[in-house]
């Protein structure tokens, strides 16, 4: 199983300004970048924000390789989206949409590269605490984020494995040979993960 193709950068220990910034501020940055993708209508502003975020990412010491690894898996999807939007809405709109997606991915990578997962989960638990009055369990919120972070590379790895085995059988152009095994493996993985969590007593309501 290959599982290194990770959409978000893993935590890189360091003492940079971003590392030391309060978690709430980093959460707000990611939220603001997400909102920006709906509000900003000029591709030049999106490009400027992306450049600032890339600068911040490199200033953390995480390196260009990690930055590239974070955005590379998206490249084919962005190409398709970009071309379609260019055809539908023109160049500036296509540029804005593609740049805004990159802004969101780099902002999220900045958060995950400079925050240990457990600190991130503690932050999610803290943020979710007001929802306990509605019966929500903050630890479950955190667990969901943790599983999401772990599942993305698993599914990316599965896709790479399935693509290789389809190639070996000369079926690389058959979408069913690519999609169906990934789907089945992902469902099996979800079941196994659920079973593993149950066995460890994780995700159960507090006593």
């Amino acid at each position: 199983m290959r599982g290194h193709g990770f959409l978000l950068a893993n935590y890189v220990p360091g003492t940079s300004l971003v590392h030391r910034a309060p978690l709430a501020l980093k959460f707000l940055l990611v939220l603001a970048c997400g909102l920006m993708s709906f509000l900003v209508a000029d591709w030049r502003i999106s490009a400027l924000v992306l450049a600032v975020l890339c600068g911040l990412f490199l200033a953390t010491g995480a390196g260009t390789k990690r930055l590239w690894r974070a955005v590379r898996p998206l490249a084919p999807v962005l190409l398709v989206i970009g071309l379609f939007q260019w055809w539908q809405l023109g160049g500036p709109a296509a540029g804005r949409i593609v740049l805004n997606i990159l802004v969101c991915v780099v902002a999220a990578s900045l958060l995950t590269a400079t925050t240990p997962v457990q600190r991130l989960l503690d932050g999610v638990v803290h943020l979710a605490r007001p929802f306990t009055r509605f019966g929500a369990d903050p630890e479950r919120f955190a667990l969901t984020i943790g599983i999401m972070l772990r599942s993305i590379p698993f599914i990316a790895g599965t896709f790479a494995d399935v693509r290789d085995s389809a190639k070996a059988r000369g079926l690389e152009r058959n979408p069913r040979a690519l999609v169906l095994p990934v789907f089945i493996t992902s469902v099996a993985y979800a079941r196994q993960t659920g079973e593993a969590l149950a066995a460890r007593g994780l995700g159960e309501a507090e006593d």
Partner: protein, 243 residues
């Protein structure tokens, strides 16, 4: 040692192609209080079902399973706090991107303080000689290291019983030996299914499961010998049928 008891336990599942349910375990009664219990048998014989009953992952269709008197259905949460479960494939068990984070996840419920949690996680990893791999991606670890990492995550919460479902199946010889030595040093009661008959010989008691029933229950050497002989008889009979 804790006491795991099976009283007339049956497990059956519905089948789409038949009105008759498929029997996975049939009227099994056992009392397991030895430090090391091995479970051997062919694929599909019911070994995993037997082990999953102990942690409440599978519920009996009939009969009861208890761990130190606690029913695995009505007191499942209590049972899971004292029974750790290690799966065959550690990748399906390790939920976090790195080993340290996964061990910390195990400790989240019992230890709210982040730095204390980190200290305990380091201690749990150090106990199995894994501290140097703590922050490595689980994908970058070897099969044996992953299996030990999964074991560390389970042991971090100090279960009294450790159930392992074919833990050495995906391991090479070196990693299998490493796992074997690690298990030998643990204080917990261990109940383990395996196809590794050498590993089974390390146990205090071995059960042979065949078609959902306990076909043999006794000393490891006798159990392994009986299992080998049945397998060979079965193979000979199949070959004769083909001729």
């Amino acid at each position: 040692m804790p006491e795991v008891t099976f009283s007339q336990v049956g497990v059956a599942v519905e089948r789409e192609d038949s009105p008759q349910p498929k029997v996975l375990l049939d009227a099994v009664s056992l009392r397991l209080d030895e430090a090391r219990v091995g479970v051997i048998g062919a694929n599909g014989s019911g070994k995993s079902t037997l082990l999953r009953l102990i942690n409440g992952l599978v519920q009996p269709t009939s009969g009861t399973v208890t761990v130190d008197g606690d029913d695995t259905v009505s007191a499942v949460r209590k049972v899971r706090r004292s029974v750790g479960f290690v799966f065959t494939d550690p990748l399906s068990q390790l939920v976090m991107p790195t080993g340290r984070e996964d061990v910390e996840l195990s400790l989240r419920r019992s230890t709210k303080n982040g730095s204390e949690r980190r200290r305990l996680a380091c201690k749990a990893l150090d106990r199995l000689g894994l501290l140097h791999l703590a922050d490595q991606s689980i994908y970058e670890l070897s099969g044996g290291e992953r299996q030990l990492m999964a074991l560390a995550a389970v042991l971090a919460v100090n279960p009294r019983v450790l159930v392992l479902d074919e833990p050495s199946t995906l391991l090479d010889l070196r990693n299998r030996e490493l796992l074997r030595r690690t298990l030998a040093d643990l204080d917990q009661q261990i109940i383990m299914s395996t196809h590794d008959l050498e590993l089974a010989l390390d146990m205090d008691r071995v059960l042979v499961i065949d078609q959902g029933r306990v076909a043999f229950d006794g000393a490891p050497a006798d159990a392994v010998a009986a299992y080998r002989s049945w397998c060979l008889q079965d193979l000979d009979a199949a070959e004769q049928d083909l001729q």
